[in-house]
Amino acid sequence: EAPQTAAAPTGTAGRQVVKTPDSTAGPTCTLSQFGGERFDLTSATVGFSQSEKEANPFRIAETKSIKDEAAKLGIADLKVTNAQSQFSKQITDVQQLIAQGARLLVIAPLNSDGWEPVLQQAAAKKVPIITVDRKINAKACTDYLTFIGSDFYEQGRRAADKMIEALGGKGKVAILLGAPGNNVTTERTNGFKDRVKEKAPGLTISFEQTGEFAREKGQQVTEQLIQSNPDINGIYAENDEMALGAVTALKGAGKQPGTIKIVSIDGTRSAVQAIVDGWLHSVIESNPRFGPLAFETARKFLDGEGIADKVIISDREYDQANAKDSLGEAY
């Protein structure tokens, strides 16, 4: 049996769609406000700093999208670094990209805080920074140009909505947390809990343990969970990998699909397939294909157009209704 590596979809399938700003959006940033000068993207050095190894579908699709789009636009000198999940390394990586003469930086930050040294250096050289998928806690237009990505808190809330829908607003839910200390973990947890509190007080969260965003850990924690809390009704996994690990655990324990409702976030091909198979209830998407939007934003900015302080993309959701048809769009 051949390994089933999910190839990223070609064409425009699954392309990111901007949710905000809509046409009447608030403050914008122009080249003159930012204080840089115009340059030609195709001949400039562009730096992309990836935060984690390209080992999960999200990161693979993200890096690929940036590289593909750069190639498509004819950007000759794209420098890519990878921080291998070490934050200190990412700071150094970006500083070295600046030192190598990068005129534009696209950063997928490992963490939202702690960017002071990079921001100072970039500001001094007037290098615009576009952060993708995760925010940087700093001032848009002064410290960096803009943020393009999903709203993780909102993702958590939407996951809660799905869980409430699945369980009819009551029952016991377990959370498989992401890696501790990670902003994504925090926001997806808070969004979920807040929404549950306001909309379905009958839903109790009786278990929350970290699965570190990894499938095996998700499996192991779920095995312990269903053993000691057999009355659990739903599992909220903060990414697809842990959800799929949970599925393996449920299969191993002889459970039938659908007896425990699982909701997760990301929208990888395997997860969407698992909806089709009945194991997952629904998945909130977190779209990693930042290339087109990032470079379009850069182009607009260099052309003098105003850029919103954040560009929130609209994430789809997959469930029984659309999973089968949307398989081609999942990454």
Binding site: P3, A214, Q224, S270
Partner: protein, 305 residues
């Protein structure tokens, strides 16, 4: 009395945890629970067995987690030729990593911790180059290996048990086992006594590599997916802890197989207890630290470093 605690302290600790759980953890006495704990601990036990041998020679093998990842990658790559071939190739991969580590230690004379640290970094990278991302598979044989049971006992557990017996036999009853311990006790003396020191050292790392690879295959079979990125991350620390908590001194010259298995069980039970009681990560880690220290303290080798 002191000696008794040293030799059986880890058993007493496991017993204490069991009693605690029986009293305070719901559904602990279910058969399914024990099954879960044994299944989860099996790969750690297998890795720890190899680690115990390596530590017996006064070495250490930090590369086991990466070797597991390599085995996972190779399994995925060769699954097209059938499960048996894939497992074979994975084991060969583990053995080759062991040869590399062993050769660096025995023939070049690099300290084990450094030699295997280089492997830890490099082999995981290699595994990722081979299989850059998680790959799911549906090979029924491999899945069966991970989830089937014989007389109600999961295959994974049976394999771990058999390997434990095998390694115990190796240590107690064979020339090789004695030589391992002698080399760990005094390498210069062993050399002058005509023991094939270098060969034994290489063999020990090969065994550790093989066992780690097998653990990687089993974990992969259980996960029904090959995940070289995160499989076996930090397992070297769990394995070393299991060995040391079991009373094998890091200074070598002694291998305690049964206690090592107990050490692994202790750590497994501990983490299960903390998960089942839904403690936050911060507490989990602090409690683990205290228990490790306490266990190592009671089983410590008096008068030795």
């Amino acid at each position: 009395m002191g000696k008794w605690i040293r030799d059986y302290g880890v058993y007493a600790a496991v017993l204490t945890l069991l009693v605690f759980n029986v009293l305070f953890t719901p559904h602990f006495l279910d058969v399914a629970n024990f099954r879960t704990q044994f299944v989860q601990v099996a790969p750690i036990v297998i890795v720890s067995l190899g680690m115990a041998l390596v530590i017996g020679t006064q070495g250490i093998d930090l590369s086991v987690g990466s070797v597991m990842a390599l085995a996972a990658a190779l399994t995925a790559l060769y699954l097209g030729y059938g499960a048996a071939v894939a497992i074979g190739v994975a084991l060969i991969g583990g053995a080759v990593a062991g040869v590399a580590g062993g050769a660096l230690v025995a023939y070049v004379g690099i300290q084990p911790i450094v030699a295997t640290l280089a492997l830890l970094v490099g082999v995981r990278g290699l595994a990722n180059v081979l299989v850059p991302q998680l790959v799911e598979f549906r090979n029924p044989d491999l899945i069966a290996l991970g989830s089937n049971a014989l007389f109600g006992v999961p295959l994974v557990v049976i394999i771990a048990a058999v390997l434990t017996l095998l390694v115990a036999f190796l240590v107690r009853r064979t020339t090789f086992g004695r030589q391992v311990v002698a080399i760990g006790g005094n390498r210069a003396a062993s050399e002058l006594s005509g023991l094939p020191v270098k060969r034994v050292l290489v063999l020990v790392y090969v065994i550790s590599g093989l066992l780690a690879a097998l653990a990687g295959v089993l974990a992969t079979a259980r996960l029904q997916a090959s995940d070289p990125t995160s499989l076996g991350m930090f397992i070297e620390l769990s394995a070393i802890t299991a060995v040391v908590v079991g009373g094998t001194p890091l200074s070598g010259g002694r291998v305690r197989v049964a206690s090592t298995v107990m050490g692994a069980l202790l750590m497994q039970l501990l983490s299960a207890t903390l998960i089942k009681h839904n403690l936050p990560q911060s507490w989990t880690q602090m409690v683990q630290a205290v228990i490790i220290l306490a266990a190592v303290y009671v089983t410590r080798e008096r008068g030795k470093r």
